[in-house]
């Protein structure tokens, strides 16, 4: 590529401001942030309720569970892997907790502990199989996805005779567990769900881990150039297994939030959501090829999703066109991202 395109703005802007601008533009989440602002402004203008406390709590709520998963999925994608079992995992963990609490009469906290153990085991297994066999994680986790889907339905129907677990409200420990995973906070007139808080906390922790710790470096390393990373002594296998365990852990959090808030879970819940998580991460600037991306971006990607999904309803549009709008939105977000990334490449050279 020739240098002619870059010389023009350089002449117009003072060099110092350009440096800041360039650095900003090179960040993966900038495209998503821009998209979020556009969507936000758009719905604020188009609808009267979008910016009211009730409206805000609605779209934040929608974005939160998606965001918790998207953040974990982003870490994994930066590490160069995929996880298709994330959507079903949210149902599996909720089903295990629910079955143990309602049908075995356990305390919910015990059930949560067991489902957490299950999630981490499945995550570790995913990672171990991927690293051990060298198969693409797409295939390995597709297997996990199908297996969990079957288990969810099979075990639920076997244990309950129906396809859903309900009645969690009467289980022991519901009050305290519900307080942690499904309580609500009043901020002014807005009722904020606990999942929103989880979302923020998970995003902050994941962002710090990714940008400020050695483990964060390892994630970029194994995703960007695995052989090189290995050559300089990055424990690649451990890193990737931990990443798969992270997505499973996020699935556990969302499963717990859903179970305790809705006091039940359906065996087919979560199927297909894994693509939404990946889409949110991609909108947020993660590359499908790994090695590049941002946790904050993924959280913003989820926010865009939530704002668009609920904004369309608040605008009172015919829901028939919803998917079309979502598709156009996602496509434009990715295009914007791409444009920024191209610019980022140029800046860094």
């Amino acid at each position: 590529m020739t240098a002619t395109t870059t010389t023009e703005p350089a002449a117009a802007t003072p060099p110092d401001r350009l440096a800041i601008l360039n650095r900003l533009v090179a960040r993966p989440e900038v495209g998503a942030l821009l998209g979020a602002v556009v969507v936000f402004v758009f719905f604020t203008i188009v609808t009267t309720k979008f910016l009211k406390p009730l409206g805000i709590s609605t779209w934040l709520d929608d974005a939160s569970t998606l965001g918790i998963m998207a953040v974990a999925v982003a870490l994994l994608m930066i590490g160069g892997e995929f996880d298709l079992s994330t959507g079903v995992m949210t149902a599996s963990t909720a089903l295990i907790t629910g079955l143990l609490a309602v049908h075995a009469g356990w305390n919910i906290w015990l059930g949560l502990a067991v489902s957490l153990l299950f999630a981490l085991t499945v995550g570790a297994l995913n990672g171990w199989v991927v690293m051990r066999t060298g198969l693409p994680s797409f295939i390995v986790t597709l297997g996990t996805f199908l297996a969990l889907q079957g288990l969810n339905l099979g075990v639920t129907r076997w244990a309950t005779g129906t396809v859903q677990v309900s009645g969690v409200r009467s289980a022991g420990g519901y009050q305290s567990a519900g307080w942690v995973f499904a309580s609500t906070t009043k901020i002014g007139n807005a009722t904020i769900q606990a999942s929103v808080v989880w979302w923020i906390v998970v995003t902050v922790i994941a962002a710090i881990v990714l940008v400020r710790t050695r483990f964060g470096n390892w994630i970029f390393a194994v995703g960007g150039a695995l052989p090189t990373a290995r050559a300089v002594g990055v424990p690649a296998t451990r890193t990737k297994i931990l990443l798969f365990m992270t997505t499973a852990f996020a699935g556990w959090i969302v499963g717990a939030c859903n179970l305790l808030r809705f006091a039940g879970v359906q065996a087919n819940q979560g199927v297909g959501l894994e693509f939404q998580y990946i889409i949110a991460a991609v909108i947020g600037g993660c590359l499908l090829t790994g090695g590049f991306g941002s946790v904050v971006g993924a959280a913003i990607g989820a926010l865009i999703f939530g704002m668009a999904r609920q904004g369309i309803v608040l605008a009172g549009w015919n829901s028939d066109w919803f998917m079309l709008f979502l598709g156009v939105l996602l496509f434009s977000a990715v295009l914007v991202n791409n444009a920024f990334k191209k610019r980022a490449e140029r800046v860094r050279r």
């Binding site: 590529m1 609605t58 396809v163």
Partner: protein
Amino acid sequence: MSANPRSWRWPHRPDRARSPLARSAFRPRLLRLSPWLAAAVVLAACSGPGADVTGTTQAPAAVGTLKSVAVVTHGSPGDAFWNVVKNGAESAGKDLGVRVEYNSSGDPTQQAKLIDNAVAQGVDGLVVSMANPDALKPSVEKAVAAGIPVVTINSGEAESVQFGALGHVGQSERMAGESAGKRLAAAGKHKMLCVIHEAGNVGANDRCAGATQGFGTATTLQVDINNPTDVQSRIKGALEADRSLDAVLTLNSQIAARAVDAVKESGSQATVATFDLNSDVVSAIRAGTLLFAVDQQQYEQGYLPVVMLKLYKSNLNSVGGGHPVQTGPAFVDKSNVEAIAALVGQGTR
């Protein structure tokens, strides 16, 4: 032309060391503390799961005009059955001069958020189908507490009053299944196959359970409605495997057409009956390859609630006297199929 992608993706370290975050020594500490700060903020003003709902009693009624109604169902977009419900609600809106907005999601957690959204919009009336009552409980109660009259439709008749709804319009799935089973038994059938087309659908489960009770005994077969080839071949396989099967009950009109074909291909003598209508079902009944269809007249489930809400808002009337208003089961067979054929074509039956 363009740069090698690896060249900017890797190495990452120098770039991140220059990032704005690294420049201040205070920032990282603040960042590290932020999860705890967030937690502290939440602890300060937090209430238990669903605690924002003060009571389930209907807010004191005042006569007014019904201007807008939100219909939130659990049907997936594009489902033929729910399209009729939507048509019913929309024509009631047109007839009564009420703005009707229809939204739906098959995922109970999403559906709950759509209800919250309708409350945020401040609609005058709410129509909700409760396939998963537990999950929708907080949202429905929140609507009731906000003074929005709620009518439940289709499923959730047992919980309707309990959640503070004005009334329920629907068909008891178990009862409808039972009468379908009895009708097949009365036709002189001895062995029934009940086809469940959607894993995890509670209503489908209830229909089969009811049919089994009414018929005496039955085997169930699980198929995937999204894959018609799979549906047909599995039913065919089941009929070939067990030649003594002489009745096939499907729970969905699309599946009925596949079952009719499967019976033909396998050379079985089985009689097919189904729930729900579409044009394929109508022509199969005409041709005599389908014995009957259980019709729950879901157009009424869209139309009647709007009327009920209108009557309540303008005249403080209630319908049903605390009992669910039954829209079915009505039976369509060779004797009355001609009369309703045109209505099926226009999307109102």
